[in-house]
């Protein structure tokens, strides 16, 4: 990367009383940029896998079979009424510990803190997606389902070919809202020492008196990421728009 503008930026910031000296330290700068990359990775992985989880849970919720919808309902209620941080701790300090013990030591455990953040955020926001998708599936006109039945579709084909495509469109604004929340929740990774941008900044400001400066940077990173997700959400919404629905 071209570094000629960096000293100029740091000097300009210093003249207004902001200390961005860490940008001139190659090690701290690399660590911080790594943090931004990890935040983006966590957001992207979390969004994709939470959507998959959400569809599976929504399918269970609307299956009409008690042995599927009751556990799914219980899972959704449990996830929505307990703190995300407690869920992360339960996964990392309890489930991860049990897995390590079963495999004969932490060195045999393939799951890292990074993996657990992705898993917990996917399950957590999957539950929120599922609620939105369930409402979407219930909003599918009855005539659609009847026509599909009369064309000989099986129950699973009705779900995957008729209900879900419509439900995703109906639920899309809520899904995008959940995705934005997921991006913000990746900051919780810092609680179990995953090196995303909040954690990277924490590591830098404990060494220097530059909390406010890093805080501005962190807020800019999250603002950029959430705006990106919301913007992509609008793009997809326009692409998915069907004649006859919406304005």
């Amino acid at each position: 990367m071209s570094e000629s503008w960096l000293p100029a930026f740091v000097a300009a910031a210093r003249s207004v009383g902001l200390n961005y000296g860490f940008l001139l330290n190659a090690f701290e700068r690399a660590a911080w940029i790594d943090g931004v990359v990890v935040s983006i990775e966590l957001s992207a992985l979390g969004i994709v896998s939470s959507l998959i989880v959400g569809m599976v849970i929504a399918a269970a919720l609307t299956s009409g079979r008690p042995y599927l919808d009751r556990p799914a309902r219980a899972f959704v209620e449990l996830v929505r009424n307990t703190p995300t941080l407690v869920q992360i701790f339960c996964a990392f300090f309890v489930v991860n510990m049990l897995i390590s013990q079963a495999l004969g030591g932490p060195q045999n455990n393939p799951l890292t803190a990074y993996a657990w953040v992705v898993i917990v955020l996917s399950l957590h926001y999957g539950a929120y997606h599922a609620e939105a998708l369930r409402a979407g599936i219930e909003a599918v006109p009855r005539a659609m389902r009847e026509s599909a039945v009369s064309l000989g579709f099986s129950r699973r084909e009705i779900l995957t070919h008729v209900e879900l495509p419509l439900a995703v469109r109906f639920a899309w604004p809520s899904l995008v809202n959940n995705m934005v929340d997921l991006v913000k929740a990746t900051s919780l990774g810092s609680a179990i020492a995953v090196g995303e941008v909040t954690y990277a900044s924490l590591m830098i400001w404990v060494n220097g008196d530059n909390v406010l400066e890093l805080m501005i940077f962190i807020l800019l990173v999250y603002a950029a990421l959430t705006l990106l997700v919301a913007g992509l959400g609008t793009l997809v919404e326009n692409r998915l728009r069907m004649p006859g629905y919406g304005q």
Partner: protein, 267 residues
């Protein structure tokens, strides 16, 4: 599989023989049963948990205190910001909107870090120094996003009342302040209450973030206890206890909110 089975799926539930048990009763029963089973198999762990119970109770009290203070500050601040957002003056409306955008879109954890590290640890009044403890800073860190959300809730509620209501009140000879007090605000309370309660549940769950800046609330107390006892069975049980306590506190709020939403849906 019969095709009418697919069609009748969501439209006509099977006739109930037993009276419907409220799901909240089912849930609390299930949680109590699960703990009885656990207590039966892990008698020894349970007595250790009992020994730590006063510490956990103190932690939970801190969570409740922080959440109540944060929602109180957030509501007052949010009502003011929401009113400013509706103002027509450009120099008032724009900063209020910016405030809402910034504090609604920042992760709460980052705001708690912000409040903790940016505010001083004590405040000087003349010659006396008042301590500024971490839990109050965490409360401020939670009150900021709460106020931004409440501002949006208030603004939405006032805007959702049709202008016909204002006009009708004017034609009945009510003044503007009378209209606001007797016609608009009573309707707003109904609309504001469900999202306000949802927000309270969210803030309550976010109080656990205070543990990351060293406030000894429930999660931090549980973590300290696991580090002291250092036994696998105890670690499992105490984290389950933390999950259960939050669930028992937040689930009734969510259920009640859902009921209010249904009740007010078409008014």
């Amino acid at each position: 599989m019969a095709s009418e089975d697919i069609l009748t799926l969501k439209t006509s539930p099977s006739p109930r023989v037993l009276p419907r048990i409220p799901s909240i009763v089912l849930w609390i029963g299930a949680v109590a049963l699960a703990w009885l089973v656990l207590a039966h198999f892990y008698r020894d762990t349970m007595s250790t948990l009992w020994a730590w119970a006063p510490l956990l109770a103190g932690g939970l009290r801190m969570n409740v205190l922080i959440s109540v203070l944060a929602i109180a500050i957030g509501t007052v601040l949010g009502a003011i910001v929401g009113a400013l957002e509706l103002s027509r003056g450009r120099w008032i409306g724009a900063p209020a909107k910016a405030y809402v955008q910034v504090f609604r879109n920042a992760p709460i954890l980052v705001l708690i870090f912000f409040a903790t590290y940016v505010f001083p640890f004590e405040i000087r009044f003349g010659s006396t120094y008042l301590p500024f403890p971490d839990w109050i800073k965490a409360t401020i860190g939670l009150a900021l996003p709460a106020s931004a959300h409440i501002a949006e809730i208030f603004r939405g509620a006032i805007l959702s009342i049709t202008s016909a209501q204002w006009e009708a009140s004017a034609s009945l000879g009510l003044s503007r302040s009378q209209t606001l007090r007797w016609v608009i605000l009573p309707q707003c309370v109904k609309r504001v209450l469900p999202p306000w309660m949802n927000l309270y549940a969210m803030i309550t769950m976010s109080t656990t973030l205070a543990s990351l800046v060293g406030v000894t609330e429930l999660l931090e107390s549980a973590k300290n206890a696991t580090n002291t006892v250092n036994r696998t069975d105890f670690t499992i049980i105490i984290y389950l206890a933390v999950l259960t306590l939050f669930f028992l506190y937040c689930y009734p709020i969510t259920r009640f909110t859902a009921r209010l939403e249904r009740k007010y849906a078409f008014h």
